[in-house]
């Protein structure tokens, strides 16, 4: 090393003297006289591009740092109201997706039987021609409605538009019938509005929060976790109802380790206490609701003692927690959850949650549910859809799910098995959703796929579903493309742009381009008049009177703050048939399900078996991120949670490899056992999204076990067709 100047010497000496004064009595050697630079790892970008994330569906604002053409890191965009400069682990992990060596690199056409994962690389020209010809054949032979689109992720908008232009309304996402559907229906019926996504929860200001199976913290919805944490910091009373001692339960004043499948009994007992003790919001209920008297009679005998024998939650705890909620109202909320397809009576359970919130007077109130506001952006003008599509065939023949308000992914899958529904689905276009893991009953899914005339998959990674495709269209990642503007209803209106950070790698193409090229080949050019997605997005921004320059520079434009609570002068209104909050629902009554939620006991696990429960880990979004090496660097694959006492009885030890065998004899992949005090003795738990077997996922393949494989049974919600999945039982065996 070269020498140091006198000036540097003085600086070092000064620092050392200060440190020595603090440290006291240490030797002097530790300040290193030949210069100790503070290393800068140099990950700040030469360019910083604001955009929004696609590692999950929350769409947080990000800043992508680019140096020498490479994305070095992704940080939160402080200007974006969903990230506020902070990110969940996945947000940072976008680099692991962009630079995943397993990415789909070239368009491919199938060579062997479907599912064999044998492909030939082809040109885009050839892949697009092949796809368009197959779609034209289907339209000619069976009509456009025989083509279905499954879509998950924000780039799917281009393909939804394409399918509508083509003439089909059969557009579905597993995020409805396999996830949040019952909740949407229940809140729509009760309040005339869904909770949306991001949900309109005002957790930030809540003074009492009840989570029913929601494992916030393991379930990382960035803004929601931020708000949740602030509520904890402010001393909100937290009630966590979960058979498992979740991360959230670890923060709770009350953990209610409820018997799985009995939540509705607890919810009814809470209503009973709120009404009996006069803790509900009388004014609010009188002014804004219908059906309260019926509810009062309905829950008159749903005492805490009654609920205790069903839920195993002690009566005094039920009373205490009901009082905590009632005492904090209206800044109290019972969280509606997100993945709520559990037992087949999920619309009823979600209705009970909605009704409780009505009793607490929390809808439209600070600390409850705010009334979200959105920026309105005019659409890009294009030719009107000229079709009158047939109703989706997503229920079994001659039956109907009377309250479904979106198309059922599971239903379209069933309809692909010839003769089972009103008409057959013959072709699938799959965008960004790994149906093999996202849909239950894998054997049904495979049977459906084998019966198809055609299946094309647009994806970034070679997920399992890709292995079943006739044509594979490799999409560029969210960091390489521009998509639709995001302007969801929220606490404050805003609009955000996704902009390309770097050029698409390999021979991948952005979704908007793929959809447009298909449209050109399908004779649907007039529906895609834009030059590219940037022109499309900026046209909408400009049309709304917003600055395109500002949008590009900051990634987000925030609208003026508007009232979001009734107490701030927002006029209460409810888009229900009665114009009021419907505690008693005529539509549920007419559908034969019951105007008020009723408890039905769950099936008991057979002797020696445990109810299979699954959930999420904070660094993963379903199975979509399990090949992300960067994210996986902070986890060790999934484990099977089993009650410690039961494990001892079975002679199993933590860490040893076990398999689950379900009621139909289906065996899981081996996974390590986690013998723990953190779960009830009657159920087991694992994180969803592992146990991949796709050849191309060189990292995720063979890691952990897949819960989806074990979900061979579902209980379908008669209200809206959701597939209740927590109805499978497993026994646990030492792996051979």
């Amino acid at each position: 090393m070269g020498g140091f100047t006198r000036r540097q010497f003085l600086k070092i000496g000064g620092a050392a003297a200060g440190a020595a004064a603090l440290g006291g009595g240490l030797t002097t050697r530790w300040f290193g006289l030949d210069g100790d630079p503070v290393d800068d790892p140099g990950t700040d970008g030469d360019r910083v591009v604001p955009s929004f994330c696609e590692l999950c569906f929350w769409k947080c604002g990000i800043l992508a740092h680019v140096k020498d053409g490479r994305v070095t890191k992704i940080t939160g965009n402080p200007a974006h109201p969903l990230s506020r400069g902070r990110l969940c682990p996945r947000g940072t992990g976008g680099i692991g997706l962009l630079y995943d060596p397993d990415r789909l690199k070239k368009p491919m056409i199938r060579r062997e039987k479907r599912g064999q994962q044998e492909f030939q690389e082809v040109s885009w020209e050839a892949a697009l021609d092949y796809t368009a010809e197959a779609m034209l054949r289907i339209r000619e032979k069976h009509g456009p409605e025989a083509m279905a689109l499954y879509s998950h992720g924000y780039g799917g908008s281009w393909f939804k538009h394409l399918l509508k232009a083509y003439g089909s309304a059969n557009i579905a996402a597993p995020s409805y019938a396999q996830c949040r559907g019952p909740r949407e229906v229940a809140f729509q019926l009760t309040f005339g509005s869904t909770v949306g996504s991001p949900e309109n929860l005002d957790l930030d200001h809540s003074r009492a929060i009840a989570l029913i199976g929601s494992h916030l913290g393991e379930n990382m919805h960035n803004t929601q976790v931020q708000d949740f944490s602030r509520a904890i910091d402010r001393g909100a009373s937290l009630i966590v109802v979960d058979p498992r001692y979740s991360t959230a339960a670890g923060k709770a004043r009350w953990w209610l380790p409820i018997k799985p499948g009995t939540d509705l009994a607890l919810l009814l007992a809470w209503m009973h206490v709120l009404i009996e003790e006069g803790l509900y919001d009388r004014d609010y209920v009188e002014k804004y609701t219908v059906g309260f008297d019926r509810l009062k009679a309905h829950v008159a005998d749903k005492t805490p003692e009654w609920a205790f024998t069903r839920t195993t939650i002690r009566p005094e705890v039920i009373v205490e927690t009901a009082r905590a909620l009632g005492g904090a109202r209206p800044a109290a909320l019972v969280h509606p959850g997100r993945h709520v397809v559990w037992y087949g009576d999920d619309t009823q359970r979600s209705r009970a949650i909605a009704i409780l919130n009505a009793l607490l007077g929390s809808w439209g109130r600070k600390g409850g549910f705010f009334i979200p506001q959105a920026l309105s952006l005019p659409s890009y003008p294009y030719t009107k859809y000229a079709y009158h599509p047939k109703a989706p065939p997503d229920a079994p023949k001659n039956s109907v799910y009377p309250l479904a308000d979106e198309v059922l992914a599971s239903g379209l899958c069933m309809a692909s098995i010839p003769g089972t529904a009103a008409y057959d689905v013959k072709g699938w276009l799959v965008y960004g959703t790994n149906l093999i893991q996202a849909l239950p009953q894998p054997d049904v899914v495979q049977k459906a796929i084998q019966a198809l005339d055609f299946i094309a998959v647009v994806d970034v990674l070679p997920m399992e579903i890709v292995g079943w495709a006739d044509v594979v269209l490799p999409e560029a990642t969210y960091l390489e493309r521009c998509d639709e503007i995001d302007a969801p209803p929220w606490r404050e209106p805003f609009a955000a742009v996704r902009q390309p950070v770097v050029e698409p790698m390999y021979d991948s193409k952005p979704g908007w381009w793929i959809a447009r090229e298909l449209a050109l080949r399908l004779g649907l050019k007039d529906y895609f008049p834009w030059k590219d997605s940037v022109e499309y997005a900026m046209h909408r921004v400009h049309g709304a009177g917003l600055s395109c320059d500002e949008m590009r520079r900051t990634g987000v434009i925030r609208g003026p703050r508007v009232p979001v609570y009734f107490e701030d002068g927002l006029e209460p209104s409810f888009a229900t048939p009665s114009g009021k909050i419907e505690i008693w629902s005529q539509r549920m009554e007419e559908a034969g399900i019951g105007g008020l939620p009723d408890y039905t006991p769950p099936e008991e696990p057979p002797p020696g078996m445990f109810r299979l429960l699954f959930g999420r880990a904070p660094m993963h979004t379903f199975g979509r991120t399990s090949n992300n090496r960067f994210l996986a660097s902070v986890e060790r694959g999934n484990e099977l949670w089993l009650n410690a006492r039961i494990a001892t009885e079975l002679g199993l030890r933590s860490g040893e490899m076990v398999v689950c065998v379900n009621q139909d004899g289906v065996r899981s992949e081996p996974l390590p056992l986690k013998a723990t005090e953190r779960i009830r003795p009657d159920c087991v738990y694992l994180v969803h999204g592992y146990g991949h077997d796709a050849k191309g996922l060189s990292f995720a393949r063979g890691r952990g076990a897949s819960d989806s494989r074990l979900v061979t049974r579902v209980r379908v919600d008669p209200a809206m067709g959701g597939t209740g999945m927590n109805v499978n039982f497993v026994r646990v065996e030492r792996a051979a």
């Binding site: 300040f31 503070v38 890191k73 902070r86 931020q226 944490s229 902070v634 009650n643 005090e677």
Partner: protein, 179 residues
């Protein structure tokens, strides 16, 4: 006043999501298989009477750093604000510091030198927060100067119950955990 940098971790707010670990890895180009910060989820009790504590842990930038005393080459040293750093070119990778550290916060970088948390001093010198603090979605990490009684970290320690890890070693650690 010479600054005395410290970190305060609010265990009540932390959800152990590991965003801090990944943000650090990206910011500091931490090689595969290593990390400079990590999560400890401690659950105590028997079903159903349990309690939990989540801690985002890292180098404690001790007031009496045994790693610095143990370092034969002077690579491990105390820099501005009491931050303990390792000068890469002076480090021979002898691991004496790793043996001396009660917190297991150091590892040998594949390039041969020892590596650890720097409190992101390169950012702090520019007036920015460490990467882990900036990213944390629960705002459970607080970084600042303990020599300033009005700093956030000073106020948190003055008003909340806290602990440090292994106080018995006499290292005077500077990562504090709020209960």
């Amino acid at each position: 006043m010479t600054p005395r940098y410290a970190m305060v971790v609010d265990t009540r707010r932390c959800v152990a999501c590991k965003a801090c670990v990944l943000a650090c890895k990206a910011e500091n180009q931490v090689p595969d298989g290593f990390c400079r910060d990590w999560l400890v989820e401690e659950v105590r009790g028997r079903f159903p009477n349990l309690s939990a504590e989540n801690r985002s842990e890292r180098c404690n930038h001790c007031g009496h750093p045994p790693c610095v005393s143990a370092c034969p080459t002077g690579a491990s040293h105390v820099a501005e604000g009491g931050v303990v750093l390792v000068t890469h070119h002076k480090c021979t990778g002898c691991k004496a510091c790793i043996a001396a550290c009660p917190y297991d916060s150091r590892y040998v970088h594949p390039e041969g030198h020892v590596d650890k948390c720097t409190f992101c001093l390169h950012r702090v010198q520019e007036g920015r927060q460490p990467a882990c603090v900036e990213v944390c979605p629960t705002e459970c990490l607080h970084f600042g100067d303990l020599s300033d009684p009005d700093s956030e970290v000073s106020r948190l320690l003055a008003t909340r119950t806290w602990k440090v890890l292994h106080p018995e070693t006499g290292c005077e650690p500077n990562v504090y955990f709020l209960k």
